[in-house]
Structures are given as C-alpha cells and as structure tokens.
Amino acid sequence: MSDTRFVNQRMVGSSVIPDEAIPLVEGDGRFLNDIKLPGMYHVAFLRSQHAHARLNSVDASEARKLPGVIKVLTGKELLGKVDPFRSMPNRFSGGESVQHWLAVDKVRFCGEAICAVVAEDRATAEDAVDLINVDYEPLPVVTDPRLGEQDDSPLVHDACPNNYLIKREYQRGDVDEVFRNAHLVVKRKFRIGRKQALCLEGRGCVAGYRENTFALTLWISHQLPYVVRHYLAKHLRLPEIEVRVIVPHTGGGFGQKASIYPEEFVCAFLALGLRRPVKWVEDRLENMVASTHARDQYIELEIAADRDGRILALSSDIWVDVGAYSTYLWSAGMEPLQTAGLMPGPYMIEAMRYRTRGVATNKTPVGPYRAVGRPSASASLELLIDDMARRLKLDPVQVRLRNLIPIEAMPYRNANNLVHDNVNYVPCLKLSVVKSEYERQRTEQREARPNGKLRGIGVACFAELTGLGTSTAVGPGTLLQPGRDAATLRLETSGVLTIAAALPSQGQRIMTAMRQVASDELGIKLEDITSITNDTATAPYGFGTFASRTAVFGSGAVIQAARELRKRMLALGAHLLQVPVEDLTIANSVIQTVDRSKSITLREMAEKSYFSAKDIPPELNQGFEVTSFYDPKFGSFAAGAHIVVVDVDPKTGHVEIVRYVASEDVGTIINPAVVEGQIIGGIAQGIGEALLEELVYDEAGQPRTVTLADYLIPSALEIPRIELHHANTPSAALGGFKGCGEGSIIGALGAVACAISDALSRRGGDIYEFPATPERVLKGLGVLPSDG
C-alpha cells in the first residue's frame, strides 16, 4: 500500500465527478412526469380567462358526460372540507388575502384554477375542460401597484384596503439631517419588470392512495418536502404520520418550487376521495400563468454623499406588484422587504430609510425566485453610485473602494442591523479590476468603435446573505423561519455510509457535497458513501433547499453527526483491536493503529456491531446511526464583484456583452466545478434579467407572454464566456462554508445595467427600465421618444 493509506486525500476542495449525475446523462433520470402508478387517473385544470371577475355560474354538466371523465371538482365542493391558504397576519401585513384552492365566487388573475377535471388520460381531461361553461361577470382590474394603492382604486380583496398586502417603513439615523447637510444628493428611478424562474420542467405531482403504509404519498416536483408534508396534513386535516412526500429528480427550482400552490393540494384531495392515484403535470402555458412570478418593482432612491464620494445616507421608496394573493408561507413580503432591507449590500451606510409596499394586483402571485429582492436592490444602488461618481468626476471603482466594508472594520453592523464578518468585499473588487485589465478597458473605451458602437463598462459589488441560522430572519413576517436542519449518518452492515437529509437537489449536487464532507470527517472512501435527500420517510427533519442554505446546513449537520459517529467507531475499533483509542486512525474505510500493525475494515466492524453484539460491551456498541441538527445561528455573507464590458449599437439598440469578469467569495469550496456551475448559471440568469426577460400584461390584466417564444431566456449565443475568479475567505459556519446559489444573479443585473448606462452616457443618454430591450435602449439614447 502507498503512503496515502494514512492520509485520506482531502475531498473537500476537489472537483469530484458527481455519481448522482450519471442517471441524468444516461437517460435514466426519474422526473415527476416519468412516474406511473397502476390505475392512475389524470388531472387537468380549468383556468380563468379573466383577470378579475365574479363567477356567476360554473356548469360542468357537459364535461361530466364525456366518456373517460371520472370527476369534475369545483371550488364550492371543497368548502368546509379543506382549509384555504390565508395570508399570515404579522406586524407588517396590510389586509388579508384568502386563496381558495379552486376559485369560489371570484377569480383574481388570469390562470387561476376554477375546476379540476379527473379523467382516464390527460387528453380526455383537457377535452373535458373545454366543455365547462363559466359565466364570468368582469370586474375592474388593478394592474399597476402605484395606482392600486390609491384610495379610489378597485380592490383585489375586499379585506385589503389600498391593496396593501404588506407595508413597512423603517429608519435608522437622522436621515433628513444627513441629506440636508450633505455635499451631494443624487436621485434615481429604477424599474425591473416581472420575471419567471422558468424551470425547464414545470411543477407537477402524483398523489398516491394507500401506497405502502401511508394514506397519502405525494410525489412532487418541489424544494421543501417536509414543509409540503406538514401543510398538506394540516390543510387536508390528516394526521401528519399518514402523509409521505417524495421529491423525484427535479428539473430546476430556483425558488418557484419553494412555495405551496393549490393544484398539488387539490390532487391530494382527489386521490384520497377517489381512492386512486392521480397525476397532474403543468404544461408550459400553465407554468407561465399559474406558477409564481417574481420581481416587478418600481424603486425611487436617493443617496447623500460627501465630496469624496462616501455615502452618508440612503433613502428608498419601493412599490412591488405582488399579484393577486399572498404567496403561501412566504407571504407577499419577500420582494418588498428584502429589496428594502438588503439595499445597502456590501457598503458602509450608517443612515438609511425606506418605505416599501407589496400591492395586490390582478396578476399571478409573486413568490421567491433566485436572490429574492436583491438584484433590483443592488442594481438600483449601483446605478446611483455611478451617477454620484460622474457628478464628482471620480472613477466608479475608486468610489466603490471608498464605500465597501473593509476587512479591518469587521465585524460591522450596518444600518439594517446585519453583521458583516469574514467576507472579502474589497479583495473581490480588486481582483476583478486586475483580471479585467480595467484601466486598459477604460482607455479602449475612449477609442472609436466600428459602426459607431458605444462601449460601456459596468462594475457591481454585492453581498449575499447565505445559510441563515435561527438568529437571522429569512424575511421578517413570514411564517417559515428556518434555521436548523438535520442529517442522519448510518454505517450500514456493508460498511457503506448512508447520509440522509431532507435537502433535495435541483442540480446543486448536494449529495456529492455531503459525501465529500463526510469522507474527510470520517476517513471513509467516497465510493463507500451514499446519500438520500428526497423522501420524508427516510430523511430526518429538514426545511429543504432554498436561500443558498443547503450546502451550509447539509455540511454542518454532516460534520456534527460525523464527529459523534467517529467517536463510536473508534471506541468499538479500540475494543476489537485491543488498543487505546488514541492509537487509532481511520483512512480509506479502515480503522488502524498509527503504526499500521493492527487494522479492521469498517465493513468487518459494522458486521460485528450488528450481528455479533453479544460479544461487545453495550456501552461500546451504541449503534452506528447518528442524527444531528445544525444551526449556524447567524447567516454568512458571501460576496462578489463583477466587471462587464458591453457594446451598444445606437442604430438597433442591441447590447452585446464583450467581456465578463467575476470574482467571488463563497467561503471554503466543497466542489469547485459545481460551485463554478452555480455561479456561471446565476450570471446567465442575471444577463437574462438585464437584457431579455419580461412578463408583459396588458391593461385588462391579460398576460401577453405565455410561451417561450414570447418570454425570452438566454440561449448560448447571448451568454459570453464568463471569466471566474475567487477571493474566498472561510465563514464562521462549520467547515467555513457559505452559500453560493444566488449571489451571481445579483451581481449580473447590476453590472450589465451599469455597463449599458455607462455606454448610453457617452451620448448623454441613460436607462431606467430593465430588461434593456432594444426599444428601451433607443429611448434611452433619444432615438425613439421616451415615455416621459
């Protein structure tokens, strides 16, 4: 044996090729729509054609006559049998919203489910949907949050005055005084359009009746299996123990699959009533109108600065069009509160004030989507910092360096009470400046371009709060306050270690990450470790995968559990080998003495532990199964600085990204290739936010972008090669890990927006609305008349 026998190669930090990707690359993935159960029925939903209407009658008599139709369920039939989704009262909530699983008296957005049809196959169910007659009485609609908050606006919910689902004002420091005395005050407007997570696989579920010992088994394309289980039981009035939730391979989540929606709960109700399994899989049209939307904000912000460009105070006014209902569990506060509260980002800002509101409109509800609230918070402030730099004739990099929280100032508590520590804001920016040859870019910018193109350079720095523990709220006022998750480590009789945690992956390779961490902690070979993350019947309690938390929680829980398991393994090893514990080490799945004279494989030891227990003192044989809950208490800030170079064509308004350099601090990295995939993927979504993606509604509340031909996401041609660099510093969490799922999308929107604004400024233009479509760019240049 080689010398490496004693020292396991460190798995943390290695780009281990993930076994969990093998079925996906071989066509053996098992996604929700691949599940078939004997006797399974299929469900299709009748959805509202109106943005706001009273339902005078719903006549399903013709649909019920169609051969193959099993049942048509209406909202009235659910009344009194299940509990609808009510917005959570909290100290910032406005009025109440009640969302029935199927609309009862009114519909409040195009796409809201009215009836569920169960049939022998999906095509028949869809045929039957077309046979249902609904008598709609159209009502006045709310489509703009700034009009919706006016006293004379129509109401989306009678119990929700001024359509406020959420409203908060906050102040720290004497903001007015600072603004009055400041050397410079700059103001700006910012608008970000409505977005869609756009998972390639939509939502869906199979609800099984009496599978194994469970009354109800729900296979669901979702990020939070235990949360679904708890609320499914609660709303269906079932004992929780009767419900099992399993998450199959999931074709993207990005937050859209982190909320609770009516359709899957209707399917569960139907399966229990019909005593047969039922399946519903969202088609793309349904996904565009019935799965949560995101962003949709109007921001007005101003900063006060001294003559050197130091920001003294920040004030913002925010309107978010949150759609027709308070998204269940997360509430309507996600975007309004996070945009407002996290706007200072990585900068030292001592005084701040905001007024933020989530206004109900007759549109699809807004829910969590990658980096909730923060891309617009960051981009609006970054654009304003550039305005300040121009006014003071300072370079955008220089002015940022003066405002970023330096390491020497940490721990630093900002004006919104968040503590920044162990995070490399300044080194990230400096690294991007060097790697992008920033000075040369500025020189080249002044040279004339072919076809009169305008070159722009954008710089954006951001902070991403990740891995939130119990002491840091994910969003004030939401019902879910996650902060601790568990992992169970079990050494099987075969010597294989199984890690179980309710932290499903949508491609983040969390199973591989936890295996790498466990391998280092326990000295077990990677190929001897397996992982289960998707089933409430096998995993210990956990919240699930969202908010850049999974690697932090999964790894932390694995480390804690591994330390206890290691103690137990060494204690038994010492007994079996008849040597002191201190003489033992574990490497390559073998326990051995440091002098290599005695050894026992973990497999032999596990077999003895389970099958020959009579020969072992019970205090040394406590079982090789340990569950540990991990709570990092606080969150860890990750960071980044992106520098983007664009060429804007002043004739067509087309924006081309010429160069993209990103430097990030994501803490100790478990699997570099996986992390880079997360960051580059996030940047691509941010470029989509900045340039392409927008859900458009007309004045009647009709969605105009309901296919992938209307709602454009980037293809390989719109995304440049991303140059990625690291300036990592370990966090205070176990293992030094930070989350890395969302930061990149924050930086991308800001950096691309600033680059375009910089390019337009060369002709005295600017841009305030994103995405920066060619039309908006031309308006920004004055080539097309602006909206005023």
């Binding site: 690359v25 996604f31 696989e201 491609g507 996986v674 880079e676 979504q685 992938l708």
Partner: protein, 159 residues
Amino acid sequence: MAREQKIKVTVNGRAYEKTVPVRLSLADFLREHLHLTGTHLGCEQGVCGACTISMNGRSARSCLTLAVQTDGADIVTIEGLRAEDGTRHPMQQLFLENFALQCGYCTPGFLITAIELLRDNPNPTEHEVREAISGNLCRCSGYQAIVDAILAAACEELA
C-alpha cells in the same frame, strides 16, 4: 378521418409495430407507449429543445412531430446512445466529466444536438458550437460547461 393509425418504426435499433391515435405526438409515443422517458418535454411548442431526438439521422423536435409521421422512420433517443455493452457515448461521458449538466432536464436534447453537430462539423469553433446549440435552452448552466464538453468531444474525435 381515422382516429388511429398503424405505424412501423425503429427506435434505438428495435422495430415496433403499433396502432396509435393520430393526434399523439412522437414525444408522448416514446414516453407513454414505449416507456422511453429519457426524452423530456419542456414547452411542447418546439422552442426549448428538451425533447430533441434523432429521426433518420437528423435532429427533430419530438413534441412537434406526430407519431404517425414516423412510419418507416429510424429514431434514436438518449436511451439509444450507449454502446451495446453499456459504455456511455463519449459525448455522455464528457458531459459528465465537464459538469455540463445540473438539473439534467435539458440534457437529452443537448446530447442529440451535440452529436449531430460533430458529425456534420467535426472541428467547430466555440461560436459554431454556441450557434448549433442555440435552439436548446438550459436554465441552470449558463451553457459554458456544455460548450466545453462539446469542444472536448471534438478534440477527442480528432485525436
């Protein structure tokens, strides 16, 4: 018009004779009738490319193709890419080694498109690769690792 029609079709080297509804899409035929669920549906409008399969040697959208149109055709899906001994196709292996997939939902369509690209153009530039895969949407990766996997496959084939 008849509501059902008989077709003879070869899928992944195996001959099938089936009676299918005339409104059945090829994607649903593969997934529901032949239980080849490796082909995924992302939009059912021909935009996203997740359902891309190979039909008579050319990539095609199985969501826009009717099953009855495949009468006499030779179809290859992701399940047909591995060698008879189970070895992964080099493109599958390089997607794995280059971390070119995250959720994996779009991957079958990318593999089919990428294999067709290198057959027609064994030594593409990066831009040609991006152009060739621009009809396949991926929401996770930002495409960079996919592009790298395809360029690596081209290097391997040339070597």
